[in-house]
Symmetry: C2
């Protein structure tokens, strides 16, 4: 028997190398030196610090936001759209200078669309702690010396909502016709209902829950550990590193983990199956990739270009801290403050925020006499179904808005 | 309004520090200098190299194994137990010097138990590429100069099974009464049926599938990237690092990710809910942990003490490469080689290897005329149900073994 010579096999991670790493910024955060794109900015009063729920405080807060349509004379046709963890204020519109992504809900916002900008004044604000224009860990400290980095305090969803209420004041919106949002947008919607029950006319929480479950915390926490494991995270103070030397690999891995939970077994099988990038002919190599790996890498790298690792830590922690009942005598006591029509939307195949959680939310509200409905989006796409199956999402939104009285003015 | 002073808040990862890191070995691999415990060793002939399916080759192979009970005179009462990715040959018995874990199926193997050692000769071998006595990346190269490390070739499940066949020869076992195993044990069971159809009398694959799915590959691949992200992995050549300076954090994170997939939403909610380790009173901190995080850390650290990061890479890759149909004209052509009674066991709540996969395996075998049955373990524990719900697992095993003719001799 003759043994054919084989190429050497090795554990060196070929597939892990990023040839264009040096073209990456240190952080994907938007910076004031970048073009503003469609961002508008609200700077909050500096006479006293903004005290956060978790005990930290911030001065000189900026909230970046976008608007579509016109506010009517009595300020009654406004809709607040709340974005997900890695979303931003650019819910509708194109990508361009200063804005790497097209609107994440572009199919739903515009003239004649579900959030009809001929009728409604639609607002979306980048959350506090985010990285696309609102104050977050990549922002300069008030003294202008350096970014916050590791000194940025923990923020909660309630803190985010308080900044949005200040934005509503600034815009002249007394009461939102509806507040709508999915994933991390969902807790914001619910906190609006609990914290400001008189300032909402309806609520549309999507693919969310009344308090983060242990499994959700487990998933997000592994993402945080991926970032911390990256030596280029540097304890959170990486902003003065050279281009390409930021914690991209850690942030990308965090995204890869979460991207699995955003989709489903079925979708991955249909789309990728066992297809390979590098052919298996000849010899097996440790870093040959299956197509699904390339897909995850693609999503990881893409996020690293437009997001900030510290914001990912902070916002995923805010997700884990989400608990409507905290400090309020429990979840039902909190829900008792919600009195307006509420449509709880779930996605049938969501593995991260399974539909039973949105059904349960609806039932708890119903038991308290709230006009609550549960709508399930039939989708194989999983959690991201609310971003993908926009026709069903549009129908749910139209349903809610049409059931309310016509806006005055 | 007076602002109460608050403790400083910071992103420094308190919960991530490991006070006893210096007590960790560089690798959790068993070394020949350690006590052998219950291990026996088979050294494979050195006259020619063992050519691997993926093109690599190995010399001077050692397979560590354990046995329970006595082989009968005609060698017909032997049962092969195949272990999961982080399992080892110690399927039954206590922990002790040289063996950090108690038998992973101790409830099922012993006198009067489902695998009754008064009747059967039970064998379990550490897989090729593993780290508990069989040749793997932490083993010394044949020239004795250094561990293989990054030079260790990719192994497949078929390679593992070929070493087990050599072990069967050495033990005098012509035909196993049954070959049984769950998770990564499952592909080994199926490959036994396909590669050596005359050497098995029945098969019990558990919580497995005919070919790794894209979602499974996605999960395992994120674990591999966690290891590679750890600078202490050092490209795979970390064995001469100081104690405590091995790629523990990366391996632990890989385990944390997979541990989520081994269990379920329900179990995590019941067991941990939103309980916290460090109280939230006073101020929120980024690295305050929920109990589920401590649980995951515990499992991650425990694995880092008893496992080798390179073996984790290698065996998870073998899992991803699992495809009964590769080079055989497809899965059904491969399954056509299986002719013996087969009981495909699934766990009702398994999210990593969902029960539809074991049902499908059963159906495909049934269509080919095989006496195939599907047994579903009713469990909330998820994938690990086959290790936890041992009563139901015992019933399934007894069912199979009792349906066969009594062993001769």
């Amino acid at each position: 028997m003759t043994i054919a010579p084989r190429p050497p096999v090795t554990l060196v991670p070929v597939g892990w190398r990023r040839p264009h790493a040096s073209t990456l910024p240190v952080t994907g955060a938007w910076r004031p030196s970048h073009p503003p794109a469609d961002r508008q900015f609200m700077r909050m009063a500096v006479d006293r610090p903004f005290i956060l729920e978790g005990g930290g405080q911030l001065r000189d807060l900026t909230i970046a936001f976008e608007t579509w349509g016109e506010l009517n004379a009595v300020g009654s046709n406004a809709v607040l759209v709340c974005h997900a963890l890695t979303g931003d204020a650019h819910a509708a519109g194109r990508a361009g200078p200063g804005q790497l992504t097209a609107g994440w809900w572009d199919h739903l916002i515009g003239p004649g669309r579900a959030l009809d900008t001929d009728r409604y004044f639609v607002v979306c604000a980048n959350v506090l702690g985010g990285c696309q224009g609102s104050t977050g860990p990549a922002s300069l400290r008030p003294d202008g010396t350096a970014p916050y980095g590791s000194a940025f305090p923990v923020v909660s969803v309630r803190d985010m909502v308080r900044t949005q209420a200040r934005l509503a004041d600034a815009l002249g919106v007394g009461r939102w016709r509806t507040v709508v949002g999915g994933s991390m947008g969902g807790p914001q919607v619910l906190e609006w209902g609990v914290m400001f029950p008189d300032r909402v006319a309806s609520l549309v929480p999507i693919a969310t829950c009344v308090a983060a479950t242990a499994q959700q915390i487990a998933y997000w926490s592994t993402g945080r550990r991926a970032i911390v494991l990256d030596p280029k995270w540097r304890g959170g103070d990486y902003y003065d590193a050279a281009p390409g030397d930021g914690p991209h690999a850690g942030l990308a891995l965090a995204r890869m983990i979460s991207q699995i939970t955003f989709r489903t077994d079925d979708v991955f099988t249909d789309r990728f199956g066992r297809d390979v990038v590098e052919p298996l002919a000849g010899a097996f190599e440790m870093w040959q990739r299956f197509e699904v790996e390339r897909y995850l890498e693609h999503h990881g790298d893409k996020l690293a270009r437009r997001f900030d690792a510290n914001s990912y830590l902070l916002l995923s922690k805010a997700m884990d801290l989400h608990d409507l009942g905290r400090g309020r005598g429990g979840i039902d006591a909190a829900l008792a403050r919600i009195t307006v029509p509420t449509v709880s939307v779930g996605v049938s195949s969501d593995m991260l925020y399974p539909a039973y959680q949105q059904r349960e939310l609806c039932e708890r509200l119903g038991r308290q006499g709230v006009d609550a409905r549960f709508i399930e989006i039939e989708s194989t796409h999983g959690h991201d179904g609310f971003l993908i199956d926009t026709d069903q999402m549009a129908a749910a939104l139209t349903d809610v808005l049409d059931s309310l009285e016509a806006p005055d003015g």
